[in-house]
């Protein structure tokens, strides 16, 4: 691990990419490969004792299968005890404050709390006043830091392979994100992360789904898909929530598909080396055609596998190096 003594992890929590330095991001990315290796062990024993005896609680205020499963698997492969809690309502609806709910969970002597919440800032508020390590597994439209980290890791692996350079990084890599930026925590975290790593980010989607002030985040915006993907090394499609159509944010799926679907026609305008990503779950043939999703340029399933390794790396760093109050 290069420069490992210089880059020491000290943070108690992982609440967002906005709070991480480039060094911290790279430290997480550099910690992940050993955990990729754990998951691929031929011996069949896909487990390390780094979090043995620790309690990781997955506290999900919003439905999620992939992220919750990925965190649960990551914790189990680190030998932690895990517990999943699903709560569909917010604290206020139950008449509790957010802190009340967390105090109840912490009373079980938790070490790590993985929090998915529909309200932006929920993990940030809790991280400030609670002893457990808090990992943000998605807060409203705000951030989804482990998704951005696994995406950056996946991109970096491919850049390194393409360039046959094991030290290559994301400097100058062109990433185009297509779809509903406004409601996407994946987009926000990816923008923070990719910009910090030196990548160039272009956004594309219907004007009604691109926040008017997003330019302040240092990204390019275009409403023309061909133009957006022409130079891209990575084409990143976001899930389009079907209910947005009924909110009047775009006229029809038909028109969305005509303008913004990543399909083989669109891919003719991309570079031959361009790769396609998606945070899942895919609306097949809406934001992404089946031929592209299942085609040779898709690295979507690698994102999923890398997700477990990244989450193992994050939990390991937080618990074994992070400061705890």
């Amino acid at each position: 691990m290069p420069d490992s003594d210089r880059r020491v992890w000290t943070k108690k929590d992982l609440v967002g990419m906005e709070d991480l330095s480039r060094d911290e991001i790279e430290l997480i990315l550099d910690t992940a490969p050993q955990f990729v290796e754990v998951s691929r062990r031929e011996s069949g024993i896909k487990k390390v004792p780094l979090l043995q005896g620790r309690l990781v609680v997955n506290w999900f205020h919003e439905a999620s299968t992939r992220t919750r499963t990925s965190f649960e698997l990551a914790a189990k492969r680190l030998s932690a005890d895990t517990l999943s809690m699903a709560a569909s309502t917010s604290s206020s609806v139950k008449g509790e404050t957010l802190h009340d709910t967390l105090h109840n969970i912490e009373a079980m002597n938790t070490d790590v709390i993985v929090l998915r919440h529909s309200a932006a800032g929920a993990p940030h508020i809790l991280a400030k006043s609670h002893a457990s390590h808090i990992i943000n597994a998605g807060d409203g439209r705000h951030e989804h830091p482990t998704q951005a980290l696994l995406d950056a890791f996946t991109i970096r692996e491919h850049i390194r392979a393409q360039r046959n350079d094991p030290t290559a990084n994301l400097e100058g890599v062109k990433v185009t994100i297509v779809g509903d930026i406004e409601h996407s925590r994946v987009a926000r975290s990816n923008i923070f992360c990719l910009k910090k790593l030196g990548a160039e980010v272009t956004l594309c989607g219907p004007a009604t789904l691109i926040p008017p002030h997003i330019g302040h985040m240092g990204v390019n915006v275009t409403y023309n898909l061909r133009e957006a993907i022409r130079e891209a090394d990575i084409i990143y499609a976001l899930r389009i929530q079907l209910e947005r159509q009924h909110d009047g944010l775009f006229p029809s799926l038909r028109e969305y598909i005509r303008l913004f679907r990543i399909d083989s026609d669109a891919m003719k305008h991309a570079k031959p080396t361009a790769l396609v990503m998606h945070p899942g779950p895919i609306n097949r043939d809406i934001e992404l055609s089946t031929t592209v999703a299942d085609g040779p340029r898709s690295i979507i399933l690698e994102q999923v596998s890398n997700g477990v390794a990244i989450r193992m790396a994050v939990m390991h760093l937080l618990v074994n190096s992070g400061k705890r109050r």
């Binding site: 906005e18 917010s90 604290s91 206020s92 404050t97 957010l98 802190h99 919440h117 529909s118 309200a119 932006a120 800032g121 929920a122 940030h124 508020i125 400030k128 807060d139 409203g140 439209r141 705000h142 951030e143 925590r185 926000r188 926040p211 008017p212 002030h213 997003i214 302040h216 985040m217």
Partner: protein
């Protein structure tokens, strides 16, 4: 029994007085202002400003219905701590103040429990539903000083027009909360750079400006006096300036938090920085200050809006809108407007006393011989730290907790009685 406030600088914007003088009070009335006065009881005001008791035409005291947030008693104590002796209470209680019986209830609670003067506003439409007019003539007879559906705008422009026509006939101002509710729906903060980064559903400035523009145009065709509450945008100030110059009867207020903080205060998801209309951007602060300087802004009002810690310590999007402001209003005005030289001390006091009083015909905010001894004594140079323990409000939802401010109230007198420092 006579009392003399000695050695202070007496500032009374209504008469233009600003000089070192003593003030004598007998039986709740000011009986002399001048040098070397004597009395049985003496309040030492050396180094202090002695001015009319402050006036705030926009507060929420939550009684009846939300007594865990505030009551008329606790709200009046917060006001006394802040130097206020007259406030106009908003009508969005539960039940809402939309008939004479409810006004009588507020008047009775004020007589029984308040240490300062409570002048109620009433709803302009029944149940604040934005549909049917309230009985404004009778409301005025029982002491209502303004009508308002504060907290909401009246969505239907035809209803709004009738409200203004009728209020004008009765001789009551309409206090307008300007908001296009379709455009602001779901929003929790200002739409801009910060909301984009935080991913918080946001309220564009246009939601306020469109409604403000509509409301003023309706005032123009009806001849009614419309008072725009808590203006937050530079464009809104420009619009008001434009229509004032054309002779439309429009006035407006600025709230201390809107000229003190930007939406950056929301960065750490602090629900105590969440109010409606929301904190805007530096250019808007500059616009509001320019409006204060050139007289476009008529007065300063807090929109004191208490909410319990339990209600506020939830997810940012779920927290209710509103912050308290009575205890910090004078110090913020002095710190943010007078200290940097934007306006004079005398003008600041005018904005916090007689100017607001004039808008609602309160007959308050003056310090004159023969007038009620409603007086605020404050040290304009004393620095202090905003602390929960010093609040009189039942709530603590202030974004200024921990902040160092300049200008400390030393005494508040209401009809000659010392109401701050609090006696209990």
């Amino acid at each position: 029994m006579s009392m003399v406030i000695k050695g202070g600088r007496v500032v009374d914007p209504a008469s233009g007085r600003s000089e070192l003088a003593d003030v004598r009070i007998e039986n709740g009335v000011v009986t002399a202002i001048g040098p070397k006065l004597t009395g049985e009881e003496v309040i030492d005001a050396t180094g202090c400003v002695v001015c009319p008791g402050l006036v705030d035409i926009h507060v929420h005291f939550r009684e009846p219905g939300f007594e865990s947030k505030e009551t008329i008693r606790t709200g009046s104590r917060a006001a006394a701590i802040g130097g206020f002796t007259t406030v106009v209470t908003m009508a969005n209680t539960n039940p809402a103040i939309d008939n004479a019986g409810m006004v009588e209830f507020v008047n009775r609670r004020a007589r029984e429990t308040a240490c300062i003067k409570i002048r109620p506003a009433a709803c302009a439409t029944k149940g604040m539903q934005g549909k049917e007019l309230t009985e404004m003539a009778e409301l005025k007879e029982v002491g209502v000083v303004a009508v308002t559906d504060d907290g909401k705008d009246i969505p239907n422009s035809a209803v709004m027009r009738r409200v203004l026509e009728y209020a004008n006939m009765v001789g009551l101002p309409y206090l307008a909360h300007c908001e296009d509710h379709d455009l602001s729906k779901g929003g929790a903060m200002n739409e801009g750079r910060v909301s984009t980064v935080l991913g918080i559903p946001a309220i564009p400035k246009a939601a306020e400006e469109i409604a403000l523009d509509r409301n003023i145009r309706l005032a123009a065709i009806t001849g009614a006096h419309i008072h725009i509450q808590h203006v937050t945008t530079a464009e809104g100030i420009d619009t008001i300036r434009h229509f004032k110059a054309k002779g439309v009867r429009v006035t407006c207020e600025a709230s201390p938090h809107h000229f003190s903080l930007t939406d950056e205060a929301v960065r750490d998801f602090n629900a105590n920085a969440k109010m409606n209309p929301p904190l805007r951007e530096q250019g808007d602060i500059d616009g509001i200050i320019a409006g204060i300087q050139d007289g476009t802004v008529d007065c300063i009002a807090t929109d004191h809006a208490p909410h319990t810690p339990t209600e506020k310590e939830v997810e940012f999007a779920d927290a209710p809108f509103g912050i308290i402001g009575l205890e910090t209003s004078l110090a913020l005005t002095l710190t943010k407007l007078v200290q940097p030289g934007h306006i004079t001390l005398e003008r600041a006091i005018a904005l916090m006393t007689v100017e607001g009083s004039k808008l609602c015909n309160l007959d308050a905010g003056e310090l004159k011989v023969g007038g009620a001894a409603d007086i605020c004594v404050f040290n304009p140079d004393e620095e202090w730290t905003v602390r929960v323990e010093d609040f009189g409000s039942r709530s603590r939802n202030s974004p200024f907790l921990g902040e160092r401010l300049t200008g400390k109230v030393k005494y508040t007198l209401c009809e000659g009685k010392v109401v701050f420092p609090l006696s209990d």
